[in-house]
C-alpha cells in the first residue's frame, strides 16, 4: 500500500482579511466547480496553465502571492497579472463570482509595494505624469482634431466626444477618431471635445491595481466635465464607456454615456446616416468583452454593419456575442510582453480568420491595436477596421 502523504497548509487569515478589505469578498461564493477555468481565454491559449477556479480558495486560505521562495513568488505575481479582465468567467460562473475583482485586490496591495511587473509600472508612471499611457505630452492631446473643425465642448453642444488615449495619440487610431468625428458631423450631431483638458479615463490603471492614480484621474475628469457642463458623453472606447457609466457615479460624476456604436446605430435607424456606397467584402465582427459581455451592447454595431450595401456580415462559429474571446489587451494585457506562444490575441485572430472574412471589424481601440499587431506578426495581411471607419467609407468618404 502506498504511503499516505500529508500536506500541511497554514491558513493565513490576515492575508485573507486584507484581500477581502480590498474587494475580494466574492471568494466566499466560489465552490470550485471549474467552469471559469474552462472559459478563460488562457485555457484556449493552451500553453499557460491558469487555474482560475482555485483563485477564490487561495484567497480564503491567504495563499495568494505569498510564497517565500523568490522564483515561485515571481510566478505567482505573474499569475495575478495574467487576467485580462474579459469577465468570461463571471458570465459563465453559476454564482457570478467576480474573479478579476478578487485578483485586483491582490494587485492593489502589490502595487502599493512596487511589487508588480516593470512594464506595467512604466504605464502607471506615465498615467500619473501625463494622463495617458503612451507618455505623450498632454498639450498635444487635441492635435488629432486640428484639421477637423471640432469645437471645444461647451454646454450649448449636445455631446462631449471623448476620444480616449489611443485615438488621440496613436497614428493608426487617430483615423478612428477622424472617421467618428466626420460621421457625427455628417449627421448633424452637435458635439465638442476637451482637447488638451482630456485625461485618461483611468480604466486600465484601476485594473492594474493602481487605485490612487485611478482616483486622481477620475476626480480630475469629473471636475473638467462639470466645469464645462457636460451631460452626455460619446466614447470611442468601450473601456472609457464602462468606466464613465459604472464607476464615475461612485465619485459623484453622473453622466449619460454612449458608446459610438450606439449613436451610429440610432443615426442609421433615424436615417440621418444613409450609407450608399457598397462595401463588397465579407466582414467578421468581433465583440469586445467590455462592450458585449460587460455592457450587453451586441446589436448596435451589427445594425451599423448590416446597413452597409453589399457588406456580408459573418460570425465566428460558437465564440460570438457573450462567448466572444478576448483580444488580450484588457487589465494591462496590452502592455505585457508574454511569449509568442502565450498570446490570447493569436487564438482570437485564428477564430476570426477561420470565418473566411476579408475584413475584421472591431469597436474598441485596444482590440484594433492588438489584432493589427498580431496579424502582422503572424505574417498575414487581413485589415482590421473599426465599425466607424467602415461606415465612413460606405458613406462615400475616404481619408
Amino acid at each position: 500500500m502506498a504511503a499516505k502523504k500529508s500536506v500541511t497548509i497554514e491558513i493565513n487569515s490576515e492575508i485573507r482579511d486584507a484581500l477581502i478589505e480590498e474587494g475580494a469578498r466574492d471568494a466566499y461564493k466560489c465552490y470550485q466547480c471549474g467552469k471559469c477555468s474552462s472559459i478563460c481565454p488562457w485555457f484556449q491559449v493552451g500553453t499557460y496553465e491558469f487555474p482560475v477556479h482555485r483563485l477564490g480558495e487561495e484567497t480564503l486560505l491567504g495563499l495568494l502571492a505569498s510564497s517565500e521562495e523568490k522564483d515561485e513568488l515571481a510566478r505567482e505575481v505573474d499569475k495575478i497579472y495574467r487576467c485580462v479582465g474579459c469577465e468570461a468567467c463571471i458570465d459563465q460562473c453559476p454564482l457570478g463570482v467576480n474573479i478579476p475583482k478578487i485578483l485586483r485586490a491582490a494587485r492593489r496591495i502589490l502595487v502599493d509595494f512596487g511589487s508588480y511587473p516593470e512594464t506595467l509600472k512604466s504605464v502607471v508612471q506615465k498615467l500619473r505624469n501625463v494622463a495617458n499611457p503612451l507618455g505623450e505630452s498632454p498639450e498635444r492631446r487635441g492635435d488629432w482634431s486640428s484639421e477637423l473643425n471640432v469645437p471645444n465642448y461647451d454646454s450649448r453642444l449636445e455631446y462631449l466626444y471623448f476620444s480616449g488615449c489611443l485615438p488621440a495619440y496613436d497614428v493608426r487610431l487617430k483615423k478612428v477618431a477622424n472617421a467618428t468625428v466626420r460621421l457625427l458631423q455628417l449627421a448633424g450631431v452637435t458635439f465638442g471635445i476637451l482637447g488638451e483638458k482630456e485625461n485618461c479615463c483611468g480604466e486600465a490603471v484601476r485594473r492594474i491595481g493602481a487605485e490612487k492614480v485611478y482616483q486622481e484621474l477620475t476626480k480630475r475628469n469629473i471636475e473638467v466635465f462639470n466645469a464645462v457642463g457636460v451631460k452626455k458623453i460619446i466614447t470611442t472606447s468601450p473601456h472609457c464607456y464602462t468606466t464613465f457609466k459604472k464607476e464615475y457615479p461612485d465619485f459623484g460624476g453622473v453622466f449619460e454615456v454612449f458608446h459610438i456604436t450606439q449613436i451610429l446605430a440610432r443615426l442609421i435607424v433615424e436615417k440621418k446616416i444613409v450609407p450608399q456606397k457598397a462595401f463588397k467584402k465579407k466582414v467578421v465582427y468581433h465583440d469586445p468583452c467590455t462592450l458585449g459581455r460587460q455592457n450587453s451592447i451586441y446589436e448596435e454595431p451589427r445594425i451599423v454593419l448590416r446597413s452597409i450595401p453589399e457588406l456580408e456580415l459573418v460570425e465566428v462559429e460558437n465564440f460570438n456575442h457573450n462567448l466572444s474571446v478576448c483580444c488580450g489587451a484588457g487589465s494591462g494585457g496590452l502592455w505585457q510582453d508574454w511569449q509568442r506562444d502565450e498570446r490570447i490575441a493569436e487564438v482570437r485572430v485564428n477564430q476570426l480568420l477561420a470565418t473566411g472574412a476579408e475584413v475584421i471589424a472591431v469597436a474598441c481601440p485596444y482590440c484594433l491595436q492588438m489584432f493589427e499587431e498580431t496579424i502582422k506578426s503572424m505574417g498575414k495581411t487581413t485589415p482590421v477596421l473599426s465599425v466607424s471607419e467602415i461606415l465612413y467609407e460606405a458613406c462615400g468618404e475616404v481619408f
Binding site: 496591495i109 502589490l110 505624469n129
Partner: protein, 256 residues
C-alpha cells in the same frame, strides 16, 4: 554577515515630462511616481542574496523625507531585518558629500562587514555617496560592481570599466560596494511579507543624533533643461551621393 544597504526614494523621471519648479533648484514632482532608486533596488537584492547565503542581517538606511519610509517598508518586505530613516528635513539642502557624511555618521556606529549602495541615483546622478562613505570609514570600496562573491573574509568582485572592459578584484572586508544595475534580478515582495513588514518598526534619526557639523561642499545654483541644439541635417541626392556625404561627415567629425 552584517550588511548595511543605503537606499533612496526617487521620482521616476525616465519616461516623464520633467519641469523645473519656480525656485529654479528643483523639479515639479506633483505628477511623478516615486520608487526605490533603480541601482539601489539591485543593491538591496544583493544584500538579501548575501544574507540568504551567508546568514546575518540586513539593515536598510534611507536619508529621505517621511515618504522614504514607504521605500524602507518595501525593503523590509523583501527581506531586510532593520530599517532606519534619517530625517532629510533636518539637513536640507544636501549635496553628495553632505549626504555621505551623514550616512557615515550613522553607519560608523553600526556593525557591518559589507556596505552596499547603488552606483548612481537617477535623480541627481552624483555617484559620490558610496565612495565617500567608504573613504570616511577608511574601508576599501569598488564601484559599478557587476558580480560579488564572498570567500574567506574577502570579496571577489567584478566591476565595469570603460569600453566594455571588466576588472576582477579581491577586496578585504569590511568594504563598500556600489552596485551596477543588472547584477541580479530584484525580487517581488510577497503579500505575506508585506503584511509582516507593515508591523515592523522603522527607526528614525535626526539632526540631534549626528555629532559634529555636517556641511555641504557644493551649492546647487540652478537647474535647467539643456537648450535644444538644432544639428539635424537631412542629406539629399541619390543613394550613392548620400552615402558619400555621410562618410565625409563621419570622417570630418573624427568618428572613423
Amino acid at each position: 554577515m552584517e550588511i548595511v544597504v543605503c537606499i533612496k526614494r526617487v521620482p521616476q523621471t525616465a519616461e516623464a515630462e520633467v519641469k523645473v519648479d519656480p525656485s529654479g533648484r528643483d523639479i515639479v514632482k506633483d505628477r511623478l511616481t516615486f520608487d526605490i532608486n533603480e541601482a539601489d533596488s539591485y543593491a538591496l537584492e544583493q544584500a538579501i542574496l548575501l544574507k540568504e547565503k551567508y546568514g546575518g542581517s540586513v539593515t536598510a538606511i534611507s536619508l529621505g523625507p517621511a515618504e522614504a519610509e514607504d521605500t524602507l517598508r518595501i525593503a523590509l518586505a523583501k527581506g531586510a531585518d532593520n530599517a532606519l530613516r534619517i530625517k532629510e528635513e533636518d539637513f536640507t539642502p544636501l549635496d553628495g558629500y553632505k549626504t555621505a557624511l551623514i550616512l557615515y555618521n550613522i553607519i560608523k556606529d553600526l556593525k557591518y562587514n559589507v556596505i552596499l549602495t547603488g552606483c548612481i541615483a537617477t535623480d541627481d546622478g552624483y555617484s559620490q555617496v558610496g565612495p565617500i562613505i567608504a573613504e570616511l570609514l577608511g574601508i576599501p570600496h569598488a564601484t559599478l560592481v557587476t558580480e560579488l562573491e564572498i570567500k574567506d573574509e574577502k570579496a571577489e568582485v567584478v566591476r565595469e570599466l570603460e569600453g566594455g572592459l571588466l576588472e576582477r578584484l579581491e577586496i578585504n572586508l569590511p568594504a563598500l560596494f556600489a552596485v551596477q544595475t543588472g547584477i541580479n534580478e530584484p525580487r517581488y515582495a510577497s503579500l505575506l511579507a508585506i503584511r509582516r513588514a507593515a508591523k515592523k518598526e522603522i527607526k528614525t534619526l535626526g539632526g540631534a543624533d549626528i555629532q559634529g557639523e555636517v556641511k555641504s561642499l557644493s551649492v546647487l545654483e540652478k537647474l535647467y533643461v539643456p537648450p535644444v541644439e538644432r544639428r539635424a541635417e537631412i542629406l539629399s541626392g541619390s543613394m550613392d551621393e548620400i552615402s558619400e556625404k555621410l562618410v565625409q561627415i563621419i570622417k570630418e567629425k573624427g568618428l572613423l
